[in-house]
Structure formats: structure tokens, C-alpha cells
């Protein structure tokens, strides 16, 4: 079974530039998560999708961050404009959830390491 795919793996941009990250979850996984992991900290949830609908985006800085999952499969996370404090690893994860069946094992991709200079 193929894992969660993310690209790019690394990105260096200057502050005030924009950047986009892509994630393709495990086939059949309805739930998709984007996490931000700052060096030395645990992952922090930015947004959670169930199919193509947003379940939780309470911690997404909406003035600069946006995410979409238009067809309920792959997803894109965008930052515009980037700030120095956005330097982090952006992790995508997916889990299987179908109707009343709730399975919460999350499978993470390798992440995208963003450096903002």
C-alpha cells in the first residue's frame, strides 16, 4: 500500500513570498490533516478535511494560510505572504473514516521542510 505522498520535500523562500504544498493521501482515506511542526515541538493541527469538506480549521492563520481539497482526494496548502515564523515542517496525514466506522490511526507523509529567509 502506497503511503502519503507530499511535495516538494524542501522549499526555501524569502519572507512575503508565497508557497504551496501538495499532499496525496492513502487511497480510500476520507480524512486528511495538515499539521505544522516547528523545530523542537510536536505537530500542531492546521486544518482537517473530511472528504472535501473542512471539519476543523480553528488553528489555521486564515489571513495568510489557505487549504483546499476540491475532489476529496489530494490537497494543497498555501501560504501567502510567508513570514519568518512560518519556517517549519508541514506534515500531511490521512486516516480512514467511513460512515459510522471511525478509525483514527493517522498515517503521515514525510513532510515539506519550509525555510523562510
Amino acid at each position: 500500500e502506497a503511503g502519503v505522498a507530499q511535495s516538494p520535500r524542501y522549499k526555501i523562500i524569502e519572507k512575503r513570498q508565497s508557497v504551496a504544498f501538495w499532499c496525496n493521501p492513502i487511497s480510500g482515506h476520507a480524512t486528511l490533516y495538515w499539521y505544522q511542526q516547528i523545530l523542537g515541538q510536536g505537530p500542531k493541527l492546521l486544518i482537517q478535511f473530511q472528504n472535501n469538506g473542512v471539519v476543523d480549521d480553528s488553528q489555521l492563520p486564515k489571513d495568510r494560510f489557505s487549504a483546499e481539497r476540491l475532489k476529496g482526494v489530494d490537497s494543497t496548502l498555501k501560504i501567502q505572504p510567508a513570514k519568518l515564523e512560518d519556517s517549519a515542517v508541514y506534515l500531511c496525514a490521512s486516516s480512514f473514516r467511513s460512515g459510522t466506522v471511525k478509525v483514527y490511526e493517522q498515517y503521515f507523509g514525510p513532510g515539506t521542510r519550509l525555510t523562510v529567509t
Partner: protein
């Protein structure tokens, strides 16, 4: 407000020894407690998880001990090996939400 507190921040253990990492949570609505292992350059990988209806779960050399009344849970790694050297994260989630709240991680080094 940090809802999951993890300790220690770093841990050094000799090969064959026992590694113990502790976590405490605040939200009594949490009902799923996974542990993740993360190697440099990789995403976290689920190691073992427990629900609060049991006090202990063992899988191979890895054991979770859970104390519901104290709102604490811990990971024990028996016969620690150099290959276990990684960062370990505890997490907690609610059945309805699915999302996980993570601790800040413990960097484990197992010396040969």
C-alpha cells in the same frame, strides 16, 4: 494552553535498558492515546495506541501504561536498542474529532 505535556525532553539509555516516557493530559474528553515514533527527515509513524478502558497495552517491546484518574500515560520500551533512537511523541484525541493533540516530543538516544 498545552493540553498534552510530555517529559522528559531528552533521554539517554544504555542498550538493553528500559526507556520510560511520560505524558499528562488535561481534557477528560480525550479517549484515544497514540504514541508516534519519528526518525529525522521522516513523518511520525504510529507505534502503539491505547483507549482509556484498559490500563495497559503491550506490543512486543513497547508497553503503554494508562492511569485514567491521574490523567497520565507512559510509554515503556524494554530492552532498548540503538535502532530505537528517535523522537517519540505522545498524543491524545477524541472519538468524534479524530484530530490529535501532540506532546512536544522526547528525543531518545540508546547507546550501544
Amino acid at each position: 494552553q498545552q493540553q498534552v505535556k510530555q517529559s522528559p525532553q531528552s533521554l539517554i539509555v544504555q542498550k538493553g535498558g528500559i526507556s520510560i516516557i511520560n505524558c499528562a493530559y488535561e481534557n477528560t474528553a480525550f479517549d484515544y492515546f497514540p504514541w508516534y515514533q519519528q526518525f529525522p527527515g521522516k513523518g511520525p509513524a504510529l507505534l502503539i495506541a491505547i483507549r482509556p478502558d484498559v490500563s495497559e497495552k503491550k506490543e512486543g517491546r513497547f508497553t503503554i501504561s494508562f492511569n485514567k484518574s491521574a490523567k497520565q500515560f507512559s510509554l515503556h520500551i524494554m530492552d532498548s536498542q540503538p535502532g530505537d533512537s528517535a523522537t517519540y511523541f505522545c498524543a491524545a484525541s477524541t472519538t468524534n474529532a479524530g484530530k490529535s493533540t501532540f506532546g512536544d516530543g522526547t528525543t531518545l538516544t540508546v547507546k550501544p
